[in-house]
């Protein structure tokens, strides 16, 4: 059995679609777990044969307890976990409890002669490690918004209630403050316009924002802008230690393109760069680049794009 879990519905559906392919190759069953998620029939449409319903809040402690009890009862050989922040806490905890390995943020996996190998980025995102599991269950996490979901309304499956009594929780959640909506999920934007240290002062970020607006996209930035200058909040920060994004179009403006920034945009469709330094690494790491002063190029570009919009 393959058991899949994510507290985030979209992520759950994505990993179930991937899990379905794996289950078919391994000729095994695919099950999922839901902690008061609702919409469980979608798990079935997305590939689950069975959905275990656990009546508990999706906090780390009860999720670890709940999945542990399923592991004891059903002994799945593979545990596929959505790589949200909760998922990346729960997966290693379960692995430690069972004394097995775990691979987080796998960008791909494959099966050859029943041997499962995973790929993940290491050493600052510049290298790919291929790893295999030495023990079962194999536990790994897949990043959200990386894999397509595939729904089939005609699929059949069962919903099964699992009686569950969480043990005394070690962590009490006191309060959740929502992040402001405009700050959320740069991961989901189709177009991202990002600014770096080539921008001289905070007010000049307007250039980036106007271009993003014309393109109907989100605003991103390099670490310097978010962490050193604090001109934009962390939600805009793209890169290895920021957000890993995969828009159709990524426009990097005044960003040098250090490896840690590139690590966040590997999955972008097309990368366009504007930089005044012909030797900036971004000009080798992009699809289309232009050498020049952003203060001259961006306003003209905005104007041309606006006109183009008007003429359509």
């Amino acid at each position: 059995m393959i058991l899949a879990f994510s507290e985030d519905l979209e992520t759950a559906l994505e990993i179930l679609a991937k899990g379905r392919e794996l289950a078919d190759s391994l000729k095994t069953e695919l099950a999922s777990v839901s902690f008061r998620q609702g919409s469980e029939e979608k798990h079935i449409e997305s590939g689950a044969d069975r959905v275990f319903l656990i009546d508990s809040e999706p906090h780390a402690d009860p999720v670890v307890d709940g999945i542990s009890s399923l592991l004891e009862q059903f002994k799945p050989e593979t545990l596929l976990i959505g790589g949200t922040r909760l998922g990346k806490e729960v997966a290693p905890r379960l692995a430690q409890k069972l004394g097995v390995g775990c691979a987080t943020d796998c960008i791909d996996f494959s099966l050859e002669e029943k041997q499962l190998t995973i790929k993940r980025l290491v050493l600052g995102g510049r290298f790919i490690a291929v790893q295999r599991f030495l023990k079962k269950p194999r536990i790994f996490t897949l990043p959200p918004r990386k894999f397509e979901k595939k729904m089939d309304k005609s699929r059949k499956g069962e919903l099964i209630k699992i009686p569950f009594m969480p043990s005394a929780q070690k962590v009490q959640v006191l309060e959740i403050k929502k992040k402001a909506p405009q700050e959320l999920r740069i991961e989901e934007a189709d177009v991202i316009v990002s600014g770096g240290r080539g921008i001289k002062k905070k007010e000049d970020l307007k250039l980036i924002e106007s271009l993003a607006q014309v393109l109907g996209g989100a605003v991103g930035c390099s670490r310097s802008i978010a962490a050193d200058f604090k001109w934009l909040s962390e939600e805009h920060w793209v890169g290895l230690s920021g957000h890993k994004v995969k828009p159709k179009l990524y426009v990097a403006i005044g960003i040098s393109g250090q490896v840690q920034h590139i690590a966040g945009i590997r999955e972008a469709g097309t990368i366009v760069a504007i930089n005044s330094d012909p030797n900036a690494p971004i000009l080798k790491a992009c699809d289309y680049g232009i050498v020049g002063d952003l203060y001259e190029i961006v306003p003209k570009l905005i104007e041309m794009l606006r006109k183009n919009d008007g003429s359509r």
Binding site: G101, R126, G289, I297
Partner: protein, 235 residues
């Protein structure tokens, strides 16, 4: 307040080159440094001690130089060791060492910069049977407990746990200090214990590590008109 900080010394990633034939990383001669967020964990431990008293013990995978830097920043004592294993082996080894120690709080980075696996903190807490607060961008001690503000996808979660507990910190929690010359000199009097080279059993095996191929076109455009056309067609 007895605080343990788990620290890993890593290669300076920017200095790692790619072997052109095998595409494998070349680490010979590459300098080492403390993993970034581990410094945030250490800084936080020192601040807590400065406010509440107690002791900061650093457990470091790395060299004596790493220990000296950690002690100069303000840890009271350091243990150094080397290990050949994965997250399972490392966490099990650390838990074995820590379970016989006296501690109220363990701090880790949210992830190490080279592996970026986010595993050791949660695993260690699980192995020790203590509470864990991951992704804390702020922590505060309360009577017998700790409150952390956790940075999650959609919001900031305020969560509370009894001590002993383990907290993994994000880069936002503080700005790590740079030790002064006096502190660097003073650190030479502090205790460093070496525990040798461990090789515990792993749960995953790495088969290969190779440079990511760059598949970008790298076309340099001549004017803004071309740039506008590209953007319109690619968006």
């Amino acid at each position: 307040m007895d605080i343990i900080v788990c620290i890993k010394q890593i290669y300076d990633l920017a200095q790692i080159k790619v072997d052109s034939a095998s595409r494998r990383p070349v680490t010979e001669g590459v300098a080492k440094k403390l993993s970034d967020f581990d410094k945030n964990a250490l800084e936080e431990a020192i601040r807590i001690r400065e406010k509440h008293g107690g002791k900061v013990l650093a457990i470091i995978r790395g060299t004596k130089d790493a220990a000296k830097e950690v002690l100069a920043m303000g840890a009271d004592e350091a243990v150094i060791y080397e290990i050949e294993s994965d997250s399972l082996g490392t966490a099990t080894f650390l838990a074995g060492m820590i379970q016989n120690m006296k501690y109220d709080l363990i701090l880790c980075g949210e992830a190490s910069i080279d592996e970026y696996s986010f595993q050791i903190g949660p695993r260690l807490a699980q192995a020790l049977g203590i509470a864990v607060l991951t992704y804390a961008r702020r922590i505060e001690l309360k009577e017998g407990g700790i409150v952390g503000e956790r940075d999650l996808e959609n919001g900031y979660e305020l969560a509370e746990a009894k001590l002993p507990a383990l907290v993994t910190v994000t880069k936002d929690i503080n700005e790590p200090r740079i030790p002064t010359l006096v502190q660097i000199l003073g650190a030479s009097k502090k205790k460093i214990t070496e525990t040798g080279h461990a090789k515990p059993e792993s749960g995953v095996e790495t088969l290969s590590i190779q440079a990511v191929e760059m598949k970008r076109k790298g076309i340099i455009l001549k004017d803004i008109g071309e740039l506008a056309r590209v953007i319109i067609s690619e968006k």
